[in-house]
Assembly symmetry: C2
Homo-oligomer: 245 residues x 2
């Protein structure tokens, strides 16, 4: 039940509590990706608070890109399938500003056990079953990124190479539409490394060429890590763009 409990030692604003309730409805699947959620007035009625309070909760979720507001239409659950959202986490941009034209070349999809390091990143016990996907992203015919993707097997039961190829490289929208797993944020760690091994070969590079290494962990609702990914990027005519605010 909603409770203001001012002056309580564990005081939490009402809108934060509403935010939690909304998030629970998202986790529980009451509203799926792309769905419209009830209007602010309806929600205010449901939770017995004013519209302004619901508004502030929705505002917070909207700035986290979990909900999308559209004036005159309603408020919707964000989805990676929507146009413009497919490359939301891709910061790599060609020098002339292009961000599209990426093509996906599937390499492999295998099952295995997680090792210690990635197990820590994904919060899995060592030895847990995982799925590994390897692929090459090309930009106008030239190899650009060699991706190594690791996800826990359990939530993605039934995923295989065929389905990866079908979805044409958009992993996040596949996670959503086929497994109901929605990624809401990610953390990346970048380093410069020398090309070697599989990656160098797939990218058509000599050994020791510099590569941008991007290690990414993606999180679903509740800040639960669900995907580990290592991208090796050729940055001859692409930049990793980042805005600092």
């Amino acid at each position: 039940m909603i409770d203001k409990h001012y002056a309580s030692p564990s005081y939490k604003p009402l809108y934060d509590q509403i935010k939690v309730l909304l998030t629970q409805s998202l986790i529980g699947g009451e509203w799926g990706p792309g769905d419209m959620i009830p209007s602010e007035i309806d929600l205010a009625g449901r939770y017995k608070v004013s519209q302004g309070t619901v508004r502030k909760a929705i505002d917070a979720l909207a700035t986290e890109n979990i909900l999308i507001r559209r004036q005159g239409k309603g408020t919707f659950v964000a989805t990676h399938s929507a146009e413009g959202m497919k490359l939301r986490f891709l910061r790599l941009t060609s020098v002339d500003g292009q961000k599209e034209l990426l093509k996906n070349e599937f390499i492999s999809c295998t099952k295995g056990k997680v090792d210690l390091r990635i197990g820590q990143a994904l919060d899995l016990k060592a030895g847990t079953s995982i799925i590994e996907v390897k692929r090459l992203l090309t930009f106008s015919g030239r190899p650009l990124i060699y991706d190594h993707i690791i996800i826990p097997a359990a939530p993605f039961k039934g995923l295989n190479g065929h389905r990866v190829e079908e979805n044409n490289g958009s992993m996040y929208s596949m996670y959503e539409s086929e497994f109901g797993v929605r990624m809401i944020r990610a953390e990346e760690r970048l380093t410069a490394v020398a090309a070697q091994g599989e990656a160098a070969k797939a990218l058509g590079l000599k050994d020791r060429e510099p590569l941008l290494s991007i290690e990414r962990v993606s999180f679903t609702y509740g800040d639960k890590p669900m995907e580990w990914r290592l991208g090796m990027c050729v940055t001859d005519d692409h930049h990793y763009m980042n805005a600092l605010e």
Copy 2:
């Protein structure tokens, strides 16, 4: 004058107009870095709007890190001199999470003319006078970043190597305190490159070692570019961390 002019073709919310007015007071120097600005009630009176509208304008500036709210105290102009703000734009983190312990080794400070490429980035005509600073940042004794910094000479008249050294490497807080120029945001472009020339030498690397190249343009009020910077970073035991939301 404040004007709601609903239904006008160029409708702009009141709080946006207040935000512009606040920004103008910041540019004009009515409130300098670290100063407390008038209370919400005072500002509401000054602009003849309600407190809630002023609030929303301040909220926007606060999320842009231009103002800082402190409950019970007041609202303050953000400053890079404040503790915890000195490394606001530094995304490089040691593998064990450390972010401090950086030491600054001044290399040179010279005057020159801007070239075409950097002139474009800084919105300067080719040939405009500039100041160039080079320095080496070290982390627990090991060279970490070789920085090449370029700023237009005009707004920073009187800047020299001595003053750079005095400020112990905190360029942004020096810009603020000595020249009244406050950086509010920045854009970075990252690539992986092979070490060579001056940078390789300063960092104590052999030729062809991979380096993380970070090109940064920093902007002051009104989105005016005021500093170009190229950092060459050794990422053996440091990562460039980035959160995607």
